[in-house]
């Protein structure tokens, strides 16, 4: 589904991503771990096209997309939950969700499952996104990314600031989406237990490079916990 080869990324003079390789498959969850500042967010932003990569290739659905604009990538079926929520503060919850449907026909309804998943959004449909509490905003951001039914879902620390019961729900949802088999998922996560529980594959990053990767069930055995700790 997604095939990333040797991408390099810079901020001004500093080298942030170094020859990163990454794959994501339909029905599988790929978890990216790493300490603060190793470049996880940068990686996702590069995949989304928000920052153009210097070198390397990104293939999605067997097509190269490294030169596509973010909206072309979104239309190709990549959904993104950015770090720090980034909801549209002055749009209502409903409008935020409609933005998630931007490239669908205007008449497309907001999928009702979203409200089953995040009931609070239904209650607050007319409230401005910016007025929601942090956790509510995070839920909204996930719902927004799901609204259009992407083929690849990328989540940047989606559990940040969310209450435990909903984290569990989110975990269940991610699992369920993966198990349906029509979506590939890339999950950036710091919350180790959560990550381990979901990972089909894992990737550990360090200083902008991939330090280790493997199967999710081997995470503990491969010593991933220690890798992210040091």
């Amino acid at each position: 589904m997604l095939n990333v080869t040797n991408i390099n990324q810079y901020y001004g003079g500093s080298h942030i991503l170094r020859d990163v390789n990454l794959q994501a498959e339909l029905g599988k969850i790929t978890v990216v771990l790493g300490r603060n500042g190793v470049g996880k967010t940068t990686l996702l932003k590069s995949l989304m096209g928000l920052i153009p990569i210097k070198t390397g290739a990104i293939e999605f659905n067997n097509k190269p997309i490294q030169n596509a604009t973010p909206f072309e990538r979104a239309r190709a079926g990549i959904g993104f939950v950015p770090q720090g929520r980034e909801i549209f503060a002055r749009l209502t919850v409903e409008e935020n969700l409609r933005m998630g449907l931007a490239y669908k026909p205007a008449s497309t309804p907001i999928p009702p499952e979203l409200f089953e998943l995040f009931p609070v959004l239904k209650q607050m449909l007319q409230r401005r996104g910016g007025d929601l509490s942090g956790g509510q905003q995070q839920q909204l951001a996930i719902a927004r990314a799901l609204a259009a039914g992407p083929k690849l879902l990328m989540l940047d620390e989606p559990t940040e600031g969310i209450q435990p019961s909903i984290i569990k729900d989110i975990g269940r949802v991610i699992r369920m989406l993966a198990d349906r088999g029509d979506m590939a998922i890339v999950l950036v996560e710091q919350y180790y237990d959560f990550a381990q529980e979901l990972a089909d594959h894992y990737v550990v990053m360090e200083r902008g490079a991939v330090r280790a990767q493997g199967l999710g069930r081997n995470m503990e055995a491969d010593g991933v916990r220690q890798m992210v700790a040091i």
Binding site: F71, A74, P82, F88, R90, M99, A102, D131
Partner: protein, 523 residues
Amino acid sequence: MFKKILLSTLLLIAGSAYSITAEEVKSITIGETDSRVEALAKAMLAADDKTAAFLQALSDDAVKVAGDKILVIQGDKVVDAVTQAEVPLPDDAEDVINNNRMRGEIDSALAALKLFSKDDKVRAAAVKQLQSDADETKLPLIEKALATELNTSIKDQLNLVRAAALLGSADKSKRLEAAQLLATSGQANTKTMLLARLENETDAEVKAALGAALRQVESALAWGDKLGALFSGISLGSILLLVALGLAITYGLMGVINMAHGELMMIGAYATYVVQGLFHTYLPGAFDWYLLAAVPVAFMASALMGALLERSVIRFLYGRPLETLLATWGISLMLMQLVRSVFGAQNVGVENPSWMSGGVQVLGNLSLPYNRLIIIGFAIFVLGSVAWLIGRTRLGLFVRGVTQNRPIASCMGVNTARIDTYAFALGSGIAGLAGCALSQVGNVGPDLGQGYIVDAFMVVVLGGVGQLAGTVYAALGLGILNKFLEGWAGAVLAKIAVLVFIIIFIQKRPQGIFAMKGRSAEA
């Protein structure tokens, strides 16, 4: 309107020979004003349709003098006023010059003659004309007209005229009657007449009656004044609204401190001028409707210019609002100079179509000019369209989304570049519409925009940036406040007071009338 009808009726009779003598024609046309007036009065004693036709020609500036010949222009023909023979126009033919006094005399003479027209409208206009210069000499005429008049509303008016004429009568009872009659007239000039009479009146009883009449008239006038002030406030508000609406999009929503907004209005106004010129040349018959064609053209002209600016300059500046101030300032300088190079530094003339000139008389002293009424309607129309576009359509949603968070909107699949261009073009197009409207009330010149840009920003900011409803309240509020203050403090102090008001108001509401509250405001 009525002039046209009048003209056609007059043209019918114009074919026949004039009964007024050559001498009369000459002495009415040439000479010192005093002697001309005298001659006119004399001719009126035996006036008929022919006299009327000649006077009408005089009044229409269609009479020329060549040597000792008096010529009348009738469409393409030139005829000798006396012999009615068609003659070529001599090179040395000069216009007859009527000064205001002469014009007044001719018009009231014409009015007197028209009192017996078959057309109700012509008669009504004639009566109205007589109102302003009724005196006892016209009394026989008025009585004669009264005797034959059947239309009740004209008759009422005639009675007022008669009363006005009687006001100067030597007969006390007539004066009393006149005073009572005049009390019901809400006309401003009635007040003049009553005042003038009051000054000369010696009889106590009449004086009292005059005083009472005056009070009644004055209170009727006071109403007109109040409503008039309110109307001008609303009208000014509607202009401010039009001027600010485009800015509410480019600045309020998109965050571009668009100093070239005024120049985009100017482009709309010049587009209107160009359309007017095209109609003049190619569609003179439909000239009156040029404005309808100008509206979409003005919109498109400014919208295209806006799109061009957005693509070439503005798009590099999103997220750097203060930089947009600098760049758009540069753009505004260039656009102004461009217009100077193309159209010249002077103002250009944009005419009101005939259906926009004049106004409806609501009260004696309150007439609402059509151009203002139409602009108010136009402002409401534009406002409605913008509100619908922004609040109810996907384009509006995308515009708001994109302007709040451009990268994330693009991650949602929105083609942000295109939306930006559309939005900026839309805001610019609305500026063009404002310019089109302004061309009907103000001047069209390279500086047009400069005069409104400060006001436009005040309105948007006072309303609360990004708040369409606030913009509406601010525009109307400022308009009415300004006009209310102007009424008793004069234009200069009123303007200062309004500015001070804005400063103080913002202290109370640091985010404008419709402040966004809560966290979302900070985000």
